[in-house]
């Protein structure tokens, strides 16, 4: 770990899915509370690995996405946190900022809003914008304050919700921009069925997709697989995915097909031959 590394984290904070995940009928239930406390330990170890390491945390809430914490803009708020003799100060700032903003966001949710589709796409694109600003020399900063761009930027997505078929195209677009920025996307699937979109995201950007068998031991998975930056992971044996589904969903019924009919003009996929393409007609 010679160079500083940047980590952007996207947390899926769908209240419904987290409620289902914490049900005691699951073999290994995990509550949001205990997940967050394990997650904070992981964040602290990332910061502790190297002083220059940077971190940005994005929350995907129903219908919106919010930047919860960013190590570059937090300096101003640092004074508002009470000092604690037993805690390393940056840890304390990080923990209280993240917990505070998650609490505020969840409390602000209306009952109706809680069922809205999760803002995962927004959170991923925001994290890409954030990394884009870190990696390009900004037009608004003078050369003097320009820092060395962090090496190996990566995005870690914690997912509990199933795939939403309308977000297929935006997620694909995000994957391609991540490839352009040389960003690795890691996916940690905590609860629910495997996400075909996020599997492809991890595969296409060279990251790893991990479906947790024991969600209650999430910290163990995190430190073993996701703490080392991608450059070091080649030396470790990080779990890889077995089979990747490259099949596509048809535009007409969102059904997974292995042989489809593709419009020669716009490449829309249909499961049956149609006389007129409904996308580009």
């Amino acid at each position: 770990m010679d160079k500083a590394s940047h980590l952007s984290v996207v947390i899926d904070l769908s209240p419904t899915q987290w409620h289902l995940c914490s049900q005691s009928s699951n073999p290994y239930p995990l509550t949001l509370q205990s997940f967050l406390s394990q997650l904070l330990a992981f964040f602290n170890s990332h910061i502790a690995c190297k002083d220059e390491n940077t971190l940005a945390v994005f929350g995907a809430f129903p219908g919106k996405s919010v930047l919860l914490y960013s190590s570059t803009t937090i300096a101003a708020e640092e004074h508002s946190v009470n000092a604690d003799a037993n805690t390393y100060r940056p840890f304390k700032v990080l923990d209280s900022t993240i917990m505070g903003s998650i609490r505020n966001q969840l409390e602000a949710l209306e009952l109706l809003e809680a069922e809205a589709p999760i803002g995962l796409v927004g959170a991923i694109t925001k994290s890409l914008c954030y990394i884009n600003r870190l990696t390009i020399p900004s037009s608004s900063t003078t050369p003097a304050e320009e820092k060395q761009a962090p090496l190996d930027p990566r995005i870690l997505i914690f997912s509990v919700s199933p795939d939403q078929s309308p977000s297929y195209i935006p997620i694909m677009n995000s994957i391609f921009s991540a490839q352009k920025l040389k960003v690795t996307i890691d996916v940690c699937k905590i609860y629910g069925p495997d996400s075909v979109f996020l599997q492809q995201a991890a595969h296409l950007t060279g990251g790893s997709y991990l479906h947790l068998n024991r969600p209650d031991a999430v910290l163990q998975y995190l430190t073993m697989s996701f703490l080392p930056p991608p450059g070091i992971r080649q030396l470790l044996s990080v779990p890889t995915q077995d089979k990747i589904d490259f099949r596509a969903a048809c535009f007409c019924h969102k059904k997974i097909v292995d042989i489809g009919f593709v419009c020669s003009v716009c490449l829309s996929i249909f499961c049956n031959p149609v006389p007129v393409c409904s996308t580009c007609r």
């Binding site: 796409v121 884009n132 195209i169 596509a248 489809g260 490449l267 149609v274 007129v276």
Partner: protein, 449 residues
């Protein structure tokens, strides 16, 4: 139509007195500096508009690398950078907002001029070296935006057309074909007709759903043809081949005709940067209606026809090894044809056994952003009518400037506050994110779609 005043246009100075003949263009020229994107006619004027600002490469007595980027009074490059950004913004605003039909499966023959005229040094280091360099960048970018397309390369040398690279969908193979400079050493006269006939015969068997395009980089002012090139033009029209020419020297009537009649684009490069601009304008998939407009016998709106495609399953690296049908090699990883279960090494490809076109869904998805472009953001000029403006960029959370900047307000289309607002979700974005969202991500972080 008003009579044309000779001499009021830069054209009169250039070698192209032929263009005075086609008075139809006066309509377009009256609009002044056309920056339109989709309309061919307006695009021609773009070159003319620029001509008033920048000298031709051969008129300059020195390399102007310091001209293009100028420091302002404070010694910073900010002004120049912002000018570039502003130009990009204006181009986006002028682009049509609705999704237009574009040909996505493209077949392109890149015709390179390898005649002795390419050794001219009016572009640094030579026209030839610059052409090779830009051609490489062009190929990489082209495959990035047209993942299902194929490129072949033909050279014009010693009065003959030379097949340099076979038509293929693999960017590495295309790049390899032009990687060896000494094999492409310029010599003799070029022959447009021979090269175009060769390109045409290469593409004659292609199915109707794909586009057939020829892009010529032409440095010479002569062409040495065995027959009547207008016959070639007629047969290209019949085959619905679109020809675009980037000329490095000056306008030639026949080049202009080839492009105009087939619906392609014609441009004369003024200098190194303009050469690259002209070439890279040919990268985005052309709108399909341009093709319908020119095809004389073709229906105005060709019905979209469907292609049958197979989406394979990728075998893991740990699966038991088996022979692939393409190279007969023993391998673990590979893709299974969904129809006949044959194992192929790489996609996209045609199955060697049953002929089904095998693609993976990411290959298709790479083209979808052309269909659903992000709406252009509007520059926020003042905050008076915004009740509670967001303190930071909605994308990257960078804080906005509180005060309007005095330096940028001269540039048209730029926000003095550095804020650009999405017309759908009404969130504000900074300049960097504006460029990034529209050029790279193709998805607004606020709308999430």
């Amino acid at each position: 139509m008003p009579p044309r005043r000779i001499g009021d246009d830069f054209d009169a100075d250039s070698d192209s007195d032929v263009s005075i003949l086609d008075d139809l263009e006066d309509v377009g020229r009256a609009r002044g500096k056309g920056k339109g994107k989709a309309i061919d006619r307006r695009r021609k004027d773009k070159g003319k508009g620029k001509a008033k600002e920048q000298p031709y490469a051969w008129e300059a007595s020195y390399t102007r690398s310091w001209d293009t980027v100028q420091e302002d009074e404070a010694g910073s490059l900010q002004g120049a950078v912002q000018d570039l950004i502003a130009r990009g913004r204006r181009r986006r605003l002028l682009a049509p907002a609705t999704a237009i039909r574009r040909t996505i499966i493209r077949h392109l023959i890149l015709v390179l001029d390898l005649s002795s005229a390419m050794m001219d040094r009016d572009m640094r280091p030579t026209r030839f070296d610059l052409m090779l360099q830009y051609a490489r960048e062009f190929i990489v970018e082209w495959f990035d935006q047209n993942p299902l397309g194929q490129i072949g390369i033909v050279g014009m040398r010693s009065g003959l057309g030379e097949r340099i690279g076979e038509m293929t969908g693999n960017p590495q193979e295309v790049l390899k074909a032009i990687s060896e400079r000494h094999k492409l050493e310029p010599n003799g006269e070029p022959s447009l007709q021979n090269a175009i006939e060769m390109a045409r015969s290469t593409m004659s068997h292609l199915p109707t759903h794909s586009s057939r395009e020829i892009t010529v980089i032409f440095g010479s002012l002569t062409t040495c043809d065995p027959g009547n090139i207008h016959d070639t033009l007629e047969s290209c029209l019949k085959d619905r081949i679109r020809i675009s020419v980037v000329a490095l020297a000056a306008e030639m009537k026949i080049c202009r005709d080839l492009c105009d009649k087939t619906g392609g684009q014609f441009g004369v490069a003024l200098n190194e940067g303009h050469f690259k601009d002209l070439l890279f304008e040919l990268i985005p998939p052309p709108a399909a209606r341009a093709l319908a407009r020119t095809g004389s016998g073709a229906p105005a709106n060709p019905a979209a026809d469907l292609m049958m495609m197979g989406f394979p399953t990728r075998l893991p690296d740990t699966s038991p090894p088996a022979l692939c049908v393409c190279h007969s090699q023993l391998k673990s990883e590979g893709f299974l044809c969904p129809r006949c279960r044959a194992k192929v090494c790489d996609v996209p490809t045609d199955c060697d056994i049953c002929g089904l076109m095998i693609v993976s869904s990411p290959h298709l998805a790479r083209s979808y952003h052309h269909l659903f472009p992000v709406k252009a953001y509007q520059a926020v000029m003042a905050l008076v009518d915004t009740p509670s403006p967001a303190p930071g960029c909605h994308g990257c959370a960078q804080l906005f400037e509180k005060m309007a900047s005095t330096m940028t307000n001269t540039t048209e289309g730029m926000s003095p506050l550095g804020r650009y607002r999405c017309p759908d979700c009404h969130n504000d974005f900074c300049t960097d994110c504006d460029v990034f969202v529209h050029d790279v991500v193709h998805c607004c972080p606020g709308c999430g779609k």
